[in-house]
Amino acid sequence: MAAGFKTVEPLEYYRRFLKENCRPDGRELGEFRTTTVNIGSISTADGSALVKLGNTTIVCGVKAEFAAPPLDAPDRGYVVPNVDLPPLCSSRFRTGPPGEEAQVASQFIADVIENSQIIKKEDLCISPGKLAWVLYCDLICLDYDGNILDACTFALLAALKNVQLPEVTINEETALAEVNLKKKSYLNVRTTPVATSFAVFDDTLLIVDPTGEEEHLSTGTLTIVMDEEGKLCCLHKPGGSGLTGAKLQDCMSRAVTRHKEVNKLLDEVIQSMKHK
């Protein structure tokens, strides 16, 4: 009977739960789904990570290649993110060029990389004006159940921490690069940006980590990206219902606690990898 009511009046069904300050899957309003992360499983990629936030699954693979630095910034490399939402992850996506949602997600990740300075592009330069690294970060969604921005940011962070670049020296006589694939070193990941997403219900109620259905029923969404010093890197609020300043402050404090949770999880995983 509950399933019938849910199909006919999904919003009312949700409101009944929200009145009791909980959600249909048993979570509190401020509680995240179970987060699991798996690092370094794809050996063809230079760095990889798989993140599961409840059912939402994102895999991130980083490939490093050589390129000439941009003309207007000869001492910098490139970091090129790309979020792919294939028809595999949800029936609403079709094959073909990236749709609106994928483009928005790619731009969001590019903004996070730029604003948080997670990798300093100067670190990627090998020889100014001649050779630099370009990191292609490809994020593929395997299962779309809401809140992909959080999962994407986490996957990107975990994958970048896993990237190992081979040592490159420029031979003075031939002016060619010489790569030593045996000697690899980790990237210098300077900050740890962590995203926290919220959905707004009925213009007033805020819930954390919305699932696919909750996103569909919400009247607005908000994503806050914080780094470890409690500094705001990025705030993404694409339209939707307005929020008061006080509510925004609550969200930011929730984002700070989420940052600690994620950081702890990531440190545990990296430690366990090092012990192997």
Binding site: K63, A67, N82, P87, L88, S91, P98, V134, P166, L181
Partner: protein
């Protein structure tokens, strides 16, 4: 990519560091030509797809999802052998749309996410191999969408994708005559060529010819065959096909186990 304004712009062109590395002479080690790598298969893992399967064989990791049946989009979409022939039978049969894509980080070199002709060819090969097994007559005017994603290419990618796609279709509850099991083979170059079953990526790179066979194990019928390269004598190709079919039969019990486990999990999770 210069013209692609839907993706974040990177440099115009880039080269992989392997081009500048000291030449490592990696030749594949000799091994038993009939060895199959241990396979891990799991069905029913994606929440949003009707049916899904994940297959891992050595270094090859493939994920496949099935959605539908959905109302077929009219017009000249995709095409396939069903277009020709009589009007009524073709219109009433269901359609199978297969999409094969490689993740950009799945091979040695990064591939552009758009893919190209090779992926379309493999998608068509998937469709041709899966059609004999699916009872499309039971889904009139409908289409089933199968999408395979190759996360890591460790050799015999098409074979793994075929097997994963068949598992995903079975997991989705699509009516089938039989499962389809795929097996890859490659021919070693040189003076005494031998056919190797289930080649690794290194063996495929150093091979003179490659072959993928798809078998329906219970009906013992070949569903698909795709091969290319310099093979030599015709007898060696027939031997290769026989070897491949044996490999498929050996793989079948693992897949049966996987589907039984998935069905048990599904019935345990169902409320009633």
């Amino acid at each position: 990519m210069p013209g692609d304004h839907r993706r974040i712009r990177g440099p115009e062109e880039s080269q992989p560091p392997q081009l500048y590395a000291a030449d490592e002479d990696e030749t594949p080690a000799a091994r038993d030509p009939t060895r199959l790598r241990p396979v891990y298969a799991r069905a029913g893992l994606l929440s949003q797809a009707k049916g899904s399967a994940y297959l891992e064989a050595g270094g090859t990791k493939v994920l496949c999802a099935v959605s539908g049946p959905r109302q077929a989009e009219g017009g000249e979409r995709g095409g396939g052998p069903a277009g020709a022939g009589g009007e009524a039978p073709a219109a009433l049969r269901g359609r199978l749309l297969c999409d094969f894509r490689r993740a950009p980080f799945s091979g040695r070199r990064r591939r552009a996410p758009q893919g190209g002709g090779e992926e379309r060819e493999l998608g068509l090969a998937l469709q041709e191999a899966l059609e004999p097994a699916v009872r499309l007559g039971r889904y009139p005017r409908a289409q089933l969408e199968v999408s395979a994603l190759l996360l890591e290419d460790g050799g015999s990618a098409l074979a793994a994708a075929l097997t994963a796609a068949a598992l995903a279709l079975a997991d989705a509850g699509v009516e089938m005559y039989d499962l389809v099991v795929g097996c890859g083979l490659s021919l070693t170059p040189g003076p005494s060529p031998t056919w190797l079953l289930d080649p690794t990526r290194l063996e495929e790179e150093h091979s003179a010819a490659g072959l993928t066979v798809a078998l329906m194990p219970v009906l013992n019928q070949v569903a698909g065959l795709l091969g290319s390269g310099e093979g030599g004598q015709t007898e060696s190709w027939t031997d290769a096909v026989r070897l491949g079919l044996e490999g498929c039969q050996r793989l079948y019990p693992v897949l049966q186990q996987c589907l039984v486990r998935a069905a048990r999990r599904r019935s345990a999770a169902a409320p009633s």
